[in-house]
Amino acid sequence: MIILQHLLNGLRLGSIYALIALGYSMVYGIILLLNFAHGDIIMVGGYIALIIIGAGISPAIAVILSIVGCVLLACMIEKVAYKPLRQAPRISLLITAIGVSFFLENVAQLIWGADPRSFPYTTIIPSINYEIAGLKISLATILTIVVAVASMVVLTILVQKTRMGKAMRAVSEDMGAAQLMGINVNATITFTFAIGAALAGIGAILYCCYVPQVKPTTGYLLGIKAFVAAVLGGIGSIPGAMLGGFAIGMAEVAVNALGLSSWTDAVVYVVLIVVLLVKPTGFMGRSLNEKV
């Protein structure tokens, strides 16, 4: 019974990681960049929601504005910091992403201070608990998992069935060829960032409801764990991100349950290292080989 309880927790945390991992995966798939700043966009989303709810505005609007904020921020970052470097060597792009990440974290610290602020999650998801077959499930858990799975389904439909989705797949396979076929590469890339950020925004709200606090460094660790999830599942793969997210979420809950909470983060890093060394393409990813 306890195990099932933990399993549910793991699924809830895992869903959040999955949503964020998707954003990482999609951006990597299209411009081969590990967007270090992804996690920090989430942090900003969290703060936006916090501020808006604090101002007394309806939580529903807060959620929407927060997601919109994430999207706008991501698109702006893409236009200002990443687009000029599209032809540059990968190291430059990576360093820039790190720079953006740090910039966001430190500005947040300047504005809101380094101390964690508690997040009024009950205003967004009422604290209702159900009991099914002896298991206690909160509304929040159900919502989180449902929202995550639904988002992924919507995303899969988007990528497989719509024109923009096709454009996204084309650009991630071969940017040059896609351009020659008349696809507006810039718009496609911006759109990808936007979708990734929207998912991250949803993930941000759900995460802030799970760990009911926000601080400037929230994004960093969250981003790393979501990234591990993305790599585990296979960078560039949607079902992979979901699987990876669940795996990492459950691993984290398991380690905590075993009483080794100070090693939790280390375990996640170990998983990362093992995956990168044993099967860098993850469960379902595709490998990119250099032509000799």
Binding site: S262, D265, V292
Partner: protein, 337 residues
């Protein structure tokens, strides 16, 4: 073509050694004589430590062309190794203890460099960055959790403060010398070749794994030495000093100085360490400015302030003698010392 004046090779060595020794001796006398405030002395010592960190990281990022994000991890290994050894050998004569501590710190860090490098360097680019980040963080978390040896989060205290101007800057000079001589040899060419075109280097018979791990280990060695000097400077060690931010701090210096330029690394380390002194009121904004600087430099001058320019003191003197000091720089080949 008019024959220009060039120092003979032995003369060049003498000039370089002589000037360096002069600098260290003068510096020791000035600093120990109390010419500066305590705060300034602290900054000066930190400059020396960061020079070692930056120059060693530059070996992997600038010369080998990879981006490891766990440099602070090696620094931590060296710091704790040095500190523990120094506390344990407090009874021995000063010089013996210092030397033992520094060498042990470096070797320990180098061992970690090899252990981490062998698996990590099979990966490239972003993946290498993340995996080294992971290793660096694991080291830090281990330090926190193995509190019995390392003092954990509360810290390791009462470390003998061996890091004087003489010790720090002699170590810095040795670091620069060793890395310089390695790079200006067939080993250095092999490393640069790997950066330029790994597949071609492979086809020329360069053993990729060996040189990648070698570079990583040398870089880790000096990071370890710097870590020990850091311990001897602060007198106490806390795991928080060796987190991801610390690695990024060093990375910023390497990037701004120019990846591939030792002079750039030295200058950037000096300027960026001294900056808080100058920008007294802006200390809160320091990291914001850093990160902005990073982004701006990457977008507008990705090769950093000095690019890949490599410095030759005797080269400048020769240029002056030949009246070429202010003409366009020529590209120095490997035969300039």
């Amino acid at each position: 073509m008019k024959k220009s004046f060039r120092f003979s090779v032995p003369t060049r060595y003498i000039i370089n050694f002589g000037l360096t020794a002069l600098f260290i001796i003068c510096g020791t006398l000035i600093v120990n004589g109390g010419a500066f405030k305590r705060a300034t002395n602290a900054i000066i010592l930190q400059i020396g430590i960061y020079i070692i960190l930056t120059v060693s990281l530059n070996m992997v990022t600038g010369y080998l062309g990879q981006l490891p994000l766990g440099h602070a991890g090696f620094m931590a290994v060296g710091a704790y190794t040095g500190a523990i050894l120094w506390k344990a050998t407090a009874a021995m004569p000063c010089w013996v203890s210092i030397l033992l501590g520094l060498i042990a710190a470096g070797l320990m860090a180098a061992v970690f460099g090899v252990l981490i490098g062998i698996p990590a360097l099979r990966l490239k680019g972003d993946y290498l960055a993340i995996i080294t980040l992971g290793f660096g963080e694991i080291i830090r978390i281990c330090i926190i959790n193995l509190a019995g040896i390392t003092g954990g989060t509360p810290g390791l205290l009462n470390i003998p403060k061996y890091s004087s101007f003489f010790v720090v800057f002699t170590a810095a000079a040795i670091t620069c010398y060793v890395i310089h001589t390695i790079m200006h040899s067939r080993h250095g060419r092999a490393i640069l070749a790997i950066r330029e075109n790994e597949i071609a280097a492979d086809a020329c018979g360069i053993n990729l794994t060996y040189y990648k791990v070698f570079t990583f280990a040398v870089s880790a060695f000096f990071a370890g030495v710097a870590g020990a000097l850091f311990a001897g400077f602060q007198g106490s060690l806390f795991p928080k000093s060796f987190d991801f931010m610390a690695s990024i701090n060093i990375l910023v210096m390497v990037v701004l100085g120019g990846m591939g330029s030792m002079l750039g690394s030295v200058v950037a380390a000096t300027v960026l360490t001294a900056l808080p002194l100058v920008l007294q009121g802006l200390s809160e904004y320091r990291m914001v400015i850093y990160s902005l600087l990073l982004i701006i430099v990457m977008i507008f001058k990705p090769s950093g302030l000095m690019g890949k320019y490599d410095f030759s003191l005797t080269g400048i003197i020769e240029d002056a003698i030949n009246g070429r000091l202010f003409r366009k720089k020529r590209k120095e080949g490997a035969e300039n010392e």
